[in-house]
């Protein structure tokens, strides 16, 4: 073990340490780009040309950038939720199903409330009632997603059912439930008897999340794009969850359980409750992702019947973004923007070069593998740092990007120190 050197106490070293914590993410990205380049070469495409098209597609114009942010929005919501779950030691693979659960509840509320007559006392304030509709839909979507995620937490806490497996099964069940409802009671009356394309009726304007534009230039920036307020909600909630996880005792308990269940339980924390709670919150954020897609973008719930027909695989991409963001809600913001850009840029690449956009799915997988693989290096570093800290100060160093992730295995033991 390396002992403390005088240099490591300086602020500069602290900053350097923090920078190095993000090194695995950057290394993972570079490695993934390298492998992607090899794949592109194997497919007879020029990698530089491909990346150029991707950059153009993702950020080459006002509309391109707006589309990137539009794609990033559900990924960010899911990513915040996944961050909570992973911090709590729960490996939530159920983002897809939780998104669907949230969207189903949210769209139902929005459709019903959209039909309601405005109460007389609110008639003057039409805008206020609109806000109530949207708020109710969002809360309903959050709660339904939260219950769906919480179910997996419940099964883990009380029946020891591996949450990875249960969330994967719940994904499939949610897809079928959505197909059933969209072909049945939620089917757009205009579709019934014709094509029966599985989709709901279009939401009335009052139930829609408004488009977002920034008062810069004329016309306003993003005024003619599909960017909507969901992005702002997601960013604000990312900050809220950051504070929740690191500045409140609730968040502390979640992280404690994620780091070491046995120690938490000795310390008097109700581990089962924390497991359910972190899955509840994770599901809630995925649910928000689903309902925001409906209220802000599509104005109806529709699918092509395939598993990712509605979600666009945001439930999976949110996992990638959460890891890429260092399991920090604030880090998830740029991470989600990056993966949103990757998805939008890949479509441009597909149009221009004929390279299928599914390349991005493979690259995402590589990034996940590389990020978790490179943790061995931070773990060794943080072990050194913990031994340094023990000498210097009694306070434990909670190094968010490495120590916490040690709790991610589904087992309940902490890691032995070598």
């Amino acid at each position: 073990m390396n002992k403390a050197s005088g240099f490591s106490q300086s602020a500069l070293a602290g900053r350097l340490n923090r920078l190095i914590d993000f090194a695995p993410v950057l290394i993972a990205l570079l490695l993934a780009l390298l492998v992607a380049s090899v794949l592109l070469l194997a497919l007879n495409a020029n990698p530089l040309e491909a990346y150029d098209f991707m950059l153009q597609g993702a950020a080459g114009s006002e509309n391109a950038f707006a589309e990137t942010l539009v794609k990033a929005t559900p990924i960010l919501f899911v990513g915040i939720g996944i961050t909570i779950a992973f911090r709590g030691g729960m490996i939530n693979i159920g983002g897809e199903g939780q998104m669907i659960a949230g969207a189903l509840a949210g769209v139902t509320i929005a459709l019903i409330m959209g039909e309601m007559r405005v109460p007389p006392e609110l008639a003057k304030e039409k805008g206020a009632f609109d806000i109530i509709i949207v708020a109710c839909s969002l809360v309903g979507g959050f709660l339904m997603g939260a219950l769906y995620g919480g179910l997996a937490g419940f099964l883990k806490a009380y029946f020891d059912v591996n949450e990875i497996l249960s969330t994967i099964m719940l994904n499939q069940i949610a897809v079928q439930m959505m197909n059933f409802l969209l072909n049945g009671i939620l089917l757009d009356p205009a579709e019934a008897g014709f094509n029966n394309i599985p989709k709901t009726a279009r939401l009335v304007t009052a139930a829609q999340l408004p488009r977002l534009s920034l008062p810069i230039g004329d016309p306003h920036l993003f005024a003619r794009t599909r960017l909507h307020w969901g992005l702002i909600i997601a960013i604000v909630l990312a900050a809220v969850i950051y504070i929740f996880l690191w500045r409140t005792s609730w968040g502390y308990r979640i992280r404690a359980v994620g780091e070491n269940q046995r120690a938490s339980s000795y310390a008097g924390i109700n581990v089962k409750r924390q497991m359910m709670f972190s899955m509840f919150l994770a599901g809630g954020f995925a649910g928000l992702a689903g309902v925001v897609q409906v209220l802000g973008l599509q104005y109806r719930l529709q699918t092509d019947g395939s598993p990712a027909g509605f979600t666009g695989a945001a439930g999976f991409n949110g996992i990638v973004a959460a890891l890429f963001g260092g399991l920090n809600p604030l880090g998830a913001i740029p991470a989600a923007a990056f993966f949103g850009g990757l998805l939008v840029g890949a479509q441009k690449m597909q149009r221009e070069l004929g390279v299928p956009a599914s390349l991005i799915t493979a690259v995402n997988g590589l990034i996940v593998v590389f990020v978790v693989s490179s943790e061995i290096f931070i773990q060794q570093r943080s072990k050194r740092r913990v031994s340094v800290a023990e000498e210097e100060a009694p306070a434990p160093t909670l190094n968010p990007s490495s120590k916490m992730r040690e709790g991610l295995s589904s087992s309940d033991d902490g890691q032995e120190e070598g």
Partner: protein, 316 residues
Amino acid sequence: MGLDEIFTASVFASAIRLATPYIFSALGETFAQRSGVLNLGVDGMMLMGAFSGFYAVHIAQVNGAMSEPLSLLLGVAVALIVGGLMGLAMAFVSVTLKAKQGISGIGVYLFGLGLSELLFQQWVGTPKSVSGFPRINFPVLTDLPIVGEIFFHHNLLVYVAFALVPISAFVLNHTTFGLMIRAVGQNPEAADAMGVNVARVRYATTIIGGMMAGLAGASLSIALINLFQQNLTAGQGFIAVALVYFGGWRPFAVAAGAMLFSFVNALQLQIKVIGADIPSEFAVMAPYVITIIALVFATKRHEQPTALTKPYERGE
């Protein structure tokens, strides 16, 4: 609609056929998990095996350079190799780099999902079928009423899968290799002290798991469905992982779980065929609901390998 309309011989026969990919992949996963490695990338490995096996057969048959049986053997070999390579990668990541297995497996899955789709779109384009493993006609046996249809009219890979069940059980329980696997999964420190190379055993089982997943994929693309399309497996690899838990890490019980699951699936298809008054979505949902319920009851009864998902670090 009578019960005799639902429980036909063909339902039992198709249950046996549908169980094939689950048995292959779940047996392979059993080996990996018994040694302490949770490979969640099975579905991605199956997809890669399914695509590569399909593509090899497709090329061989289009060119007409190879006889049909030879092309099919080539397809199986390619699927085994590709699956094995992905197993090797998974082993490197989870044994050597000690990455968190639950998450790295999802990465491997996404990689396999994306790459198989990418290569398929690039090299094949539209779904094309190949002539896959033919059904075997046994003298006398196949012509037996009912029994013949249920048991003696399947393709070769179906029989291989079922034959592997007792073989796997034997290897795990009655061979030195099996003993090493179990030791490494239960108590790696003790195994290490006895001179067992923990890393090497885990590499071996994860590669075996990958090869079996590759074969499972090929059993879909060149024996059961005889074509490839994007996301052909539709999550079957994850079911396979669940079946291993369900079967308490014992090959016979795992295979029984696979049979149960595919029987429910076959029933579901039959119910659709005869147009029963059950929404098809609920029928499709049923196997997953049953799997969750089964997991609730199964995980209580059996002890999982103590070292499952835990990377081994030698004490200093």
